[in-house]
Subunit: 325 residues, 2 copies
């Protein structure tokens, strides 16, 4: 298992005809943008493509070209193909049941996660802000492929999503250079940004309001947290999906280092989202509770009721924070 060069992947593309493209469950702008861009480019080269994902596609991405050609996995689905691309998957388990379709066919694993274990027969793993950045490089290396408005919009969606609109520290000079090139193809960044980040349901906004009424902060004013119970969701008529982005509220509180969102996904099962602003490694805190992630964004699940989980995690955070400072 090793990392391949771009030219090895472009050679594979020339040699084969029929490609399955898949990606992870809980689809987002980067994996969907990457999938669509690769699909459109392969078709440009006269290849046959099928895209299968084992999850629903969020409606906010309906603006992506050919998005309705993505097939949702179901048992018994049988597809004939030569090779399979997995995009934006740090681990093969992330494609869930699509594994049943791949069987023993060769996998080309294209991903930007640092902990990717090179699970493919071929691997193109690079430390970029988004998988879309690697797809851009691949398109650039494919002699007969050409960017157009639809491909550029798909890649831009990936870059915008995974950099939080060029705000996160993963954003590099190269990311902006690629975006500058994509904007030459008449991409409507304002429209994409609005669809990806800035469109909420009425229930989602009311939920945010209720959650903010219960914003908590510890004595040191360095740890802030909010919670979402099943009762609150019912009261407002919201779903767990509507909690997307809510952890950014405690994170935005002036002076706070650790921000936590506690979500009661089921009775006695609490999903915990952890964020830090500058120096505290939340992945280490998550590990204590059997979770994982990155130093600035991590998560874990706790079998307890909401208040017990809050007490347990906040106390652990306080203790760890004292040792870090």
């Amino acid at each position: 298992m090793k990392n391949n060069k771009l030219v090895e992947i472009t050679n594979l593309i020339s040699q084969k005809q029929r490609f399955l493209i898949t990606s992870h469950v809980n689809p987002d702008g980067d994996n969907l943008g990457s999938v669509i861009a690769l699909k459109l480019v392969l078709e440009q080269l006269g290849k046959e493509t099928v895209v299968v994902i084992d999850d629903e596609i969020p409606s906010c991405f309906s603006f992506l070209h050919s998005i309705d050609e993505i097939i949702r996995y179901e048992d018994g689905l049988d597809i004939d193909f030569d090779m399979c691309f997995t995009l934006d998957c740090s681990d093969l388990d992330r494609i869930a049941k699509v594994k049943n379709i791949i069987k023993s066919k060769a996998i080309i694993n294209i991903d930007h996660h640092g902990d990717n274990p090179y699970f493919g027969e071929y691997n193109l793993v690079k430390n970029t802000a988004a998988t879309a950045e690697i797809i851009y490089q691949l398109i650039d290396a494919l002699e007969e492929a050409k960017l157009n408005k639809d491909i550029a919009a798909a890649l831009a969606t990936g870059l915008i999503t995974d950099t939080g609109s060029f705000r996160y520290s993963n954003t590099t000079s190269k990311t902006h250079k690629i975006m500058a090139e994509l904007l030459n193809y008449d991409v409507d960044t304002a429209e994409i940004s609005k669809k990806v980040f800035d469109t909420h349901s009425y229930q989602s906004l009311v939920l945010r309001g209720k959650v903010l009424q219960n914003l908590q902060i510890d004595d040191s004013k360095k740890i802030a947290w909010v919670k979402v119970s099943q009762d609150l969701l019912s009261e407002v008529g919201a779903t767990m999906e509507d909690t997307e982005g809510i952890v950014n509220y405690p994170r935005s509180l002036a002076g706070v280092e650790i921000a936590i969102l506690f979500k009661e996904t089921e009775e006695e099962i609490i999903r915990v989202s952890l964020r830090s602003n500058s120096y505290f490694p939340v992945d280490k805190l998550a590990h204590k509770f059997g979770g994982g992630g990155h130093p600035r964004a991590a998560g874990c699940s706790i079998d307890a009721n909401l208040n017990e989980a809050i007490e347990e995690v906040v106390n652990a955070a306080k203790k760890e924070l004292k040792q870090v400072r």
Copy 2:
């Protein structure tokens, strides 16, 4: 009154020694970033600079190099200089009382607002996303000037602020190209973005929560609004400054075209912020009430109580919206 070429401005800089730099009241990331970048570059060239602004500098910009060298205007302030730069001012009135210092000295007017009337003896007015973009071009044209980390961070702050982190439609391929260049100087975009957009007081977050409890929407579901009364501010312990960005909540509601924030600035004086998402020209609506602005962002003031103002503006918006569609 005419627009000058870059080389005419660089010639003026070589010929003169002492420069006053000023900019508009209600300072933001673009005018402060531009002012600091220009100041640092002129000093690099061995020039003397004084920066005067007739307003307080918001504390969130304290990370900018030399920001504490900006002098706040006061009566009787007497400064000796050869020429004055006004940056990011669509109109000379925007510098308020700094006019008393300039007297009859020549003004170099550098700005990116489309309606700038070329009020300077020299004018460098360009249709860019931010004034910082023009300062970047100026630095590029000054042979002996060199970008460094502090100058790059100041210019990046301008770009990030005025493009809403590269989300607004004013963002061009050129904006991203400049940002790509600035990131070569070790600029911490994540830190700047957090300071500019993503840092709130506890009161500001609680205020957001309360405001969202009263999110209103009309029958067509195309007009949404929120309100902030003086009573609510007192209850929460927040100030009018904490309402910054709140109009984005109704604007983010799926399907909404017109978003409105009503702020009771004083008894019977309601400040109205208007936003639209795609097609409705809110500046025309604002004109009806003696206000103004741009098609997607405008404002006006109404002498009435909060409920009267809401009724008046929402009814006018409904009527106009019917005619537009």
